[in-house]
């Protein structure tokens, strides 16, 4: 019974997509695929950049906790690493600004 009700809830959620069939076959304006791809690619870039920076920060914090005397070296490596990872996400942003009208 629970499984059946879950199945019906899923089907009713999917039926929200019905109005898309009303559009028919006429394309009133060409779809701007560049903008859609730009949105997805920027989201991917930012998400993966955040994961990588989280890993770098966690490693730096753990290293600092184990050996507080090594603070200058760890701080240098952390800042350098974070900036390099950040710049990879920024390359995606620059391509978007160059290509999306």
């Amino acid at each position: 019974m629970r499984k059946l009700s879950k199945l019906f809830m899923l089907l009713s959620a999917l039926s929200f997509a019905i109005p898309a069939l009303a559009q028919g076959t006429a394309a009133s304006a060409p779809v701007n695929w560049v903008a859609i791809a730009a949105g997805f690619s920027m989201a991917f870039a930012s998400g993966i950049c955040a994961l990588a920076q989280g890993k770098a920060t966690a490693a730096a914090a753990e290293g600092l906790a184990r050996n507080p005397a090594a603070r200058p070296g760890i701080q240098l490596a952390l800042i350098l690493g974070l900036a390099l990872i950040e710049s990879l996400a920024l390359y995606t942003l620059v391509i978007i600004f160059a290509k999306v009208k």
């Binding site: 200058p72 240098l76 800042i79 900036a83 710049s87 920024l90 390359y91 620059v94």
Partner: protein, 243 residues
């Protein structure tokens, strides 16, 4: 006629005719003959002259017995860059401090001048970070040649002579990619900061944008530090010796 800042308009009124004539004599046609000096160029000139006045001021007030506040500030800057390049490069790194300090101060002032209403950051235009990156590139290559003579080219050949043809190609591309990455990192940070500030101002014009201006200050400082640090690391790759 493009949209000009007040400083750009003053410069164009005074020097516009002469600059257009100079560009035409080099067979370059300016995009707007009435206003050949762009906003970015005018802001660069302003930053340059302000820094020059500041340096001359400090220089005239140098004293051993009773240093003033400005001297303390510049000694701090010099000490910071000197200690960092000592840590990265090692011995004899004092020779590189003037260039790194000048580069760092120029980029920092260019980034921060955008916060003042009526001015804009020259580094928010792609050409200016490209200029800074090319200066850094030419500097570390010439320092490499000065340090090792023609033997500097061995750096591009890789660990084994058998791999040299492949390694030369890879090293060449990676060195050019350094220029690209320095440029785009600085440009994208400044440009994205401007965009974010614009968006936030259009949403909540009253109190919250102050946080984003603070973010812009932090990002300016961080990006200047990263630019100077990476130039130091590239210098270490060019002149560093493994004992």
């Amino acid at each position: 006629m493009p949209e000009q800042l007040w400083f750009t308009e003053i410069l164009n009124r005074l020097f516009g005719g002469a600059v257009t004539a100079l560009l035409r004599s080099l067979s370059i046609e300016p995009k707007h003959p009435g206003a050949p000096i762009t906003n970015a160029f005018a802001m660069e000139l302003l930053v340059f002259s302000l820094l020059l006045i500041l340096f001359l001021l400090v220089r005239s007030r140098l004293s051993v017995e009773s240093p003033g506040g400005l001297q303390h500030l510049f000694e701090g800057v010099e000490g910071f860059i000197q200690s960092q390049s000592n840590e990265v490069i090692g011995h004899h790194s004092e020779a590189y401090t003037p260039f790194l300090a000048a580069l760092g101060l120029f980029i920092l002032s260019s980034n921060l001048i955008g916060l003042i209403p009526g001015f804009e950051s020259p580094t928010a235009v792609p050409v200016v970070p490209l200029g800074c990156a090319l200066c850094a590139f030419v500097y570390y290559q010439t320092q490499g040649f000065k340090h090792a003579g023609i033997g500097y080219l061995k750096h591009f050949a890789g660990p084994m002579p058998a791999l040299a043809p492949l390694m030369i190609l890879i090293e060449l591309i990676s060195h050019l990619a350094r220029v690209l990455s320095l440029t785009i990192r600085l440009y994208a940070n400044m440009f994205a900061g401007d965009m974010v500030t614009l968006v936030v101002f259009s949403l909540l014009p009253l109190i919250f944008p102050v946080a984003f201006l603070g973010l812009h200050i932090f990002v300016s400082l961080l990006q200047t530090y990263i630019f100077v640090l990476l130039t130091t690391v590239y210098l270490q790759g060019a002149v560093g010796e493994e004992h």
